[in-house]
């Protein structure tokens, strides 16, 4: 009798057998016909087998661990619902941060799913195919759990009753939407640098801290659980981002300038996108975890720099935009919140003025700028509101052609002067918020002339409610646009104070904590 026991496979052997060995070379189709997208961006790849997947995760383990994550997630979501978890948040203003998150992010996750599914098909090596396929499934899971999570909030609170409709139409949501569509319309290599490296590796930590740790800190178990469940996949995504950079740079020295250009572009695109996160951290969490500036210093200036120091051996440099971001970190959250405050009738969430404690916290966290530039703005807004003349900016803003954010950013060295940049292309004028957005345009003008800028679309007459007649004498264009967005003025937006959300929350919390 043969008593020898077959040794269990080691991780590396298992990965080699169950992943790499599944690849084959086509015999009757040409390689370039099977993988038609891998040459046109100019990247040179000589040996796809050099791709390393350091987690060495095989599909069988992947399903096992993902199933475990789902079980944990739904156990907590059930508990949250059974326990009226939404009434345990610090203060109902907080829910407005969730409205922004849930309006913007599920479609990003879904587009990430599409992007990685495409890469899983088009990357010519088995290593990246498997890693991208796993990430595609992860991203679909994130989209689904977030969409499911919306129902934990929108049956109680206003503004997120129709997130997908708004995601395709509402002005400020064109910022995240166009960011991801820009990435999805890139070739496979630029896409993976954009999303896996610049976004996942370099920038997502700045999102993790405010959303999930912040949700926990503010008593929101529902968000904490879908957030953590998604995050547990992120470490794998980040690792893919770092592997991909090493792989591209080690394959051929000619790849360096192309990769550097993409890192520069997508670091800037990502940072501009995170402006809204900066605002949420500094203004929308009743209990603050850390300021945007602190998060930037820890996660970019310290950790991000370790990464760039590591990549220096390949010739990669820290993106130029980092110098500007260092200056802007003192300003952007305040500029964004004062913008949304003044644009309150045009959003799908509530705004408010920071209270005394919050103003003091901001002064302490932003000693170089807050008292000089921003506290006086809130004092003015408060005075006006107390007189019954709540300030609203009646105008539609000019948008940056690339990041699509209203041109609210100031000159890096002159915080009272809006930054204007402008170029002419094909006989048309184009405007930008910064040198970096301008350079991105100049590199690929054909792409960005196609930008769907909400303000211009409204003017062209493409954003009015069905059935409304813009030539009618009593036509109110803004009312029609709000109707087109499915927003009910005053109910879905405006001041938090006096809102239906505020009233309901107070009443329900009262019912939950007494016998009245």
């Amino acid at each position: 009798m043969d008593m020898s026991v077959k040794k269990k496979l080691g991780l590396k052997e298992k990965y080699a057998l169950m992943t790499r060995d599944l690849g084959w070379e086509p015999s009757y189709e040409k390689h370039e016909d099977v993988f038609p997208l891998i040459h046109y961006e100019g990247l040179k790849i000589h040996d796809w087998d050099k791709w390393e997947d350091p987690f060495r995760l095989t599909m069988d383990s992947y399903w096992k661990y993902q199933a475990e994550k789902e079980r944990k997630l739904y156990a907590i979501i059930d508990a949250y619902n059974q326990n009226n978890g939404h009434l345990n948040v610090t203060d109902a203003r907080y829910i407005n941060a969730m409205k922004i998150f849930l309006s913007a992010v599920p479609s990003l996750e879904y587009n990430a799913h599409r992007g990685f599914a495409r890469l899983g098909r088009h990357m010519a090596g088995v290593g990246p195919q498997v890693a991208c396929q796993m990430q595609a499934i992860d991203e679909l899971r994130h989209a689904q759990t977030q969409i499911h999570a919306i129902s934990n909030y929108n049956r109680f609170y206003n503004g997120i009753h129709d997130w997908k409709h708004m995601n395709d139409r509402l002005w400020y949501l064109s910022v995240p939407k166009s960011f991801f569509e820009d990435a999805c319309t890139c070739g496979p290599f630029e896409y993976i640098i954009a999303i896996s490296f610049s976004f996942e590796y370099v920038l997502t930590n700045l999102v993790f801290v405010p959303f999930v740790s912040g949700a926990a800190y503010n008593g929101d178990m529902g968000t904490m659980t879908f957030g953590f469940s998604a995050q547990s996949d992120e470490a794998r995504h980040m690792t893919l981002g770092l592997e991909v950079i090493k792989f591209m740079l080690e394959q051929d020295p000619d790849n360096l300038p192309i990769v550097q250009k993409w890192i520069d572009k997508w670091t800037w695109r990502g940072v501009r996108l995170l402006t809204i996160v900066a605002m949420m951290m500094d203004y929308m969490l009743p209990k603050r975890v850390m300021s945007w500036k602190e998060a930037w210093e820890i996660y970019f200036e310290e950790n991000g720099m370790s990464l760039f120091k590591d990549l220096a051996r390949y010739g990669i440099k820290v993106p130029d935009c980092v110098e500007q971001i260092k200056k802007e970190k003192h300003h952007i959250s305040h500029q964004a919140w004062t913008t949304f405050y003044a644009a309150a009738p045009m959003t799908n969430f509530h705004t408010w003025l920071p209270n005394e404690d919050e103003l003091d916290w901001l002064s302490e966290k932003y000693p170089e700028t807050f008292d000089t530039y921003y506290r006086p703005r809130f004092e003015f807004f408060r005075e006006q509101a107390e007189k019954g003349e709540r300030f609203v900016n009646p105008n539609l803003p000019q948008l940056c052609q690339v990041c699509q954010i209203p041109m609210l950013f100031t000159e890096p060295d002159e915080p009272t002067q809006i930054a204007y940049r402008q170029v002419e292309h094909g006989g048309e004028k184009y405007h930008f918020c910064s040198d970096h957005c301008q350079h991105i345009f100049e590199d690929e003008p054909e792409k960005y002339v196609e930008a769907w800028l909400p303000v211009h679309q409204i003017m062209q007459g493409n954003c009015f409610a069905e059935g409304d007649d813009p030539t009618a004498p009593d036509f109110d264009p803004i009312a029609s646009v709000l109707k087109y967005w499915h927003i009910v003025p005053g109910k879905d937006n405006g001041d938090f104070a006096g809102s239906e959300d505020e009233k309901n929350f107070a009443q329900w919390r009262g019912m939950a904590t007494s016998n009245q």
Partner: protein, 119 residues
């Protein structure tokens, strides 16, 4: 540089002048008055005079600011697409060289926002 693509394509200029029904987009910004957070976008007839632009567009857009009533219009400094210029008030936007997507910025010497704060 130009875009790399798998096959040639003709970009569609989404905001071409022809899409604005005979009107043109004009951007306005009263510098050092960040209460209005960003330059504003207007859709205007090219035949509108510069004087009408001030009365019918700039005034309602910015009159809420306490500085607005104190503006000495003869002292205002205008820029058009970044270049200093002196508008002819009785001439049309077109005759003032203001075309589709022109950016007009103006400063009001001595009036730099609340308490000179740029706001």
């Amino acid at each position: 540089m130009s875009v790399q693509s798998i096959r040639p394509f003709e970009p569609v200029v989404k905001d071409a002048a022809a899409n604005f029904h005979g009107l043109q987009v004009v951007y306005l910004c009263w510098d050092k008055h960040l209460m209005f957070y960003a330059p504003i976008a207007k859709m205007l007839p090219p035949s509108m005079t510069f004087g009408e632009l001030i009365d019918a567009e700039i005034t309602p857009a910015y009159s809420r600011h306490p500085d607005f009533a104190r503006i000495d219009w003869s002292a205002v400094e205008w820029r058009k697409d970044g270049e200093a210029f002196t508008p002819a008030l009785d001439k049309s936007l077109a005759d003032n060289g203001i075309t589709h997507k022109t950016a007009i910025h103006f400063t009001t010497p001595g009036l730099d926002g609340i308490g000179g704060s740029g706001f």
